[in-house]
Amino acid sequence: MSDFQGMEDLLQDFLVEATDLLSGVDNKLVDLEKNPADRGLLNDIFRGFHTIKGGAGFLNATELVTLCHLTENLFDKLRNGEMEVNNEAMDVILAATGTVRDMFGYLERGAQPAPAPADLLASLRAAIAGELRGAVSAQAATPALAPSAAASASEPDWQQLFQAVTAAPAALATAAVQAASAVAAPVPDPAAQANAGAPSEQIVQRAIGRRASDKPGYQGPVGRRDSERTRDNTIRVDTARLDQVLNLSGEIGLTKNRLNSLRSDILNGRSDTDTLHALDQAVSQLDLLVSDLQNAVMKTRMQPIGRLFQKYPRIARDLARGLGKDVELVLAGEETEIDKTMIEDLSDPIIHLIRNAVDHGIESPADRRAAGKSEKCEVRLEARQEGDHIILIVADDGRGMNPEKLRAKAIEKGLITDDEANTMDERQSFNLVFLPGFSTKDVASDVSGRGVGMDVVKTNIQKLNGSIDIRSSAGKGTTFVISLPLTLAILPVLLVQLGEQPFAVPLSMVREILPVEIAAVQEVGGRATMVVRGEVMPMYPLSYLLGWSSEGIPEYGVLMQTAESAFILAIDGFMGREDAVIKSLDDFRPKGVAGVTTLSNGQIVLILDIKELLAALGDSRGVPRSAFMPPADIAA
């Protein structure tokens, strides 16, 4: 099955470390474009490829070794001042970096990478031989074998030794022959060839996170889940954090011993004040230690978000370049820590948002000039912790969103009705972009005009118990604000009661709790509503949502806020808040139940998925006022 039998651990380590390294290289490349003569940068990038090559050798990943070696040689020349960094060289280098990343993709799936595209290898060899004048297509006119011949002429020792060491002369030779034939072949499109194996379409595809497995005709094991699982199950943890976990569990052991001895004392009939006091102390200590341990364990899962951010400057750069825009991605708050699972699940949504900002948010250079703005655009990606939430911001300084246009578009697409449009405020209008099937550009662009994406972004964020909000001002730019809980493992909940039965609802959705006077409940358009400080709120009895027969008139209302709407959940009583440790019900998940948790008294409580319960109501989204009355009352 795998090409790496017996080397799985090594492969994992290599991928984690080398992927980080490559992201670092990517970012340095973006910097290098600004400071092409920076010797330090050139050295760092050289070392990056060199290190990847070294590791790849032990994995027998010959193709990766070949590619890294050529790229490294090019950087050797660049750092020694034998060549200068120009646009053509940059294009070749970026294409090579992208291909290295693709090869990591193969490795993740447990397969040996396929050879790099022949024209890329040819361009690299040509660049090393110093023959990269203007366009690579010029190579077509020169004798086919010139590049590789030149390379081997300058380093005969290496060629030989390398073959001896890697024991893969055949692969090298094949690559050389492929390269040669590619160069010798007629070149239909010189411009594309000048891009050195990375036509803009390819760049864009890479930038928007397509995988090799997305290519038609790809034969390998498809299914990103598989490959992601390969990487999911390892995590790098600061030893100081593990030491803390160890230390705390040791302390807990000691406290447990203390409790054991107290227990035998008490069982033997000792119940004097001193014993009870000692018991009280031991339990309090255990309480403290356990919550410290929970925190410490949670921290082992926390990773700086910078590891995710690293890859975006390159993506933004490639996209912007493809669209003829000058965009700088500014990062802030990279040190902010976030649960590792969330980092992985945030990757795609953030790519979508950046893509959206660069493509839709940022105006064309001409439009920017006309508006009196600098042609240089800035997209800001920022993370910070606010209380028990992580805030992520993707902001552009582009044209901003036009609520009128958004509404008109949504009506045209049949996503909303005229009436609905008329009642929408600015914020609701912005949120229209999250509707499935919404795309504001009339002509779908390669980059982000497919109308898929923003709704997926929202769904993914919501899956993480997070929310996303848009702020925009015309001419100044648009800001997407994502708010996420610190961890997925612990959820602050409000315990509400239906009769005697407690249920948990996420505290993050709760705005306030109010008493319900049945007389104040009014029916508007067939929906039960209540006016709260001048705002008309729809009201849903929890019993109705759960399909229970109501036994009494609800006494309390919990004012809840979802991304789209606010409503009142009518309940019989509430017990207070609790930090619930969620146990998921993956295998049999009843509709409307997000999971279960255990209360301090041992009682098991269902955590409700309010959005799912509301969705089950259907389009009407209304509950008649009669739903609040026990059947007997209606009859009377």
Partner: protein, 131 residues
């Protein structure tokens, strides 16, 4: 080969932790279980000066202080100059081998290598220094 390989204390120097692990595992395969690690030449030199190491296996290309500079520093230090140093590199360039030899490397090994190759190199060095 020394009588008790676990008595020999190795220092493996590489900035790439995967590589340190590879070398460590290969050494373990050969019975050398007493291995410490350093992530660059500067850290390595500090450890060498502080601890009683018997053998250094170092990468060439590293940030802060590269393997060649580390080798030169070891040879220049009266307390350390007898220490066997095996250089690991991805290059088999003639000029590299020459500069390593000139700086006093005890051996030179090209990535990737197997436990057998490593063993061969180590045995040669052990014979030379009489460990």
């Amino acid at each position: 080969m020394p009588a008790d390989p676990s008595k020999i204390k190795f220092l493996v120097v590489d900035d790439f932790s995967t590589m340190r692990r590879i070398v460590r595992n290969l050494l373990k395969e050969l019975g050398f279980t007493n291995v410490d690690e350093a992530e660059d030449g500067a850290v390595a030199l500090q450890k060498l000066k502080a601890g009683s190491f018997d053998f250094v296996v170092t990468d060439w290309n590293m940030p802060n202080m590269d393997g060649l500079t580390l080798l030169q520093s070891v040879r220049a230090d009266p307390a350390l100059k007898q220490l066997p140093v095996l250089m690991i590199t991805a290059e088999a360039k003639k000029e590299n081998i020459i500069s390593a030899a000139q700086a006093g490397a005890s051996g030179y090994i090209v990535k990737p290598f197997t436990a057998a190759t490593l063993n061969e190199k180590l045995t040669k060095i052990f014979e030379k220094v009489g460990l």
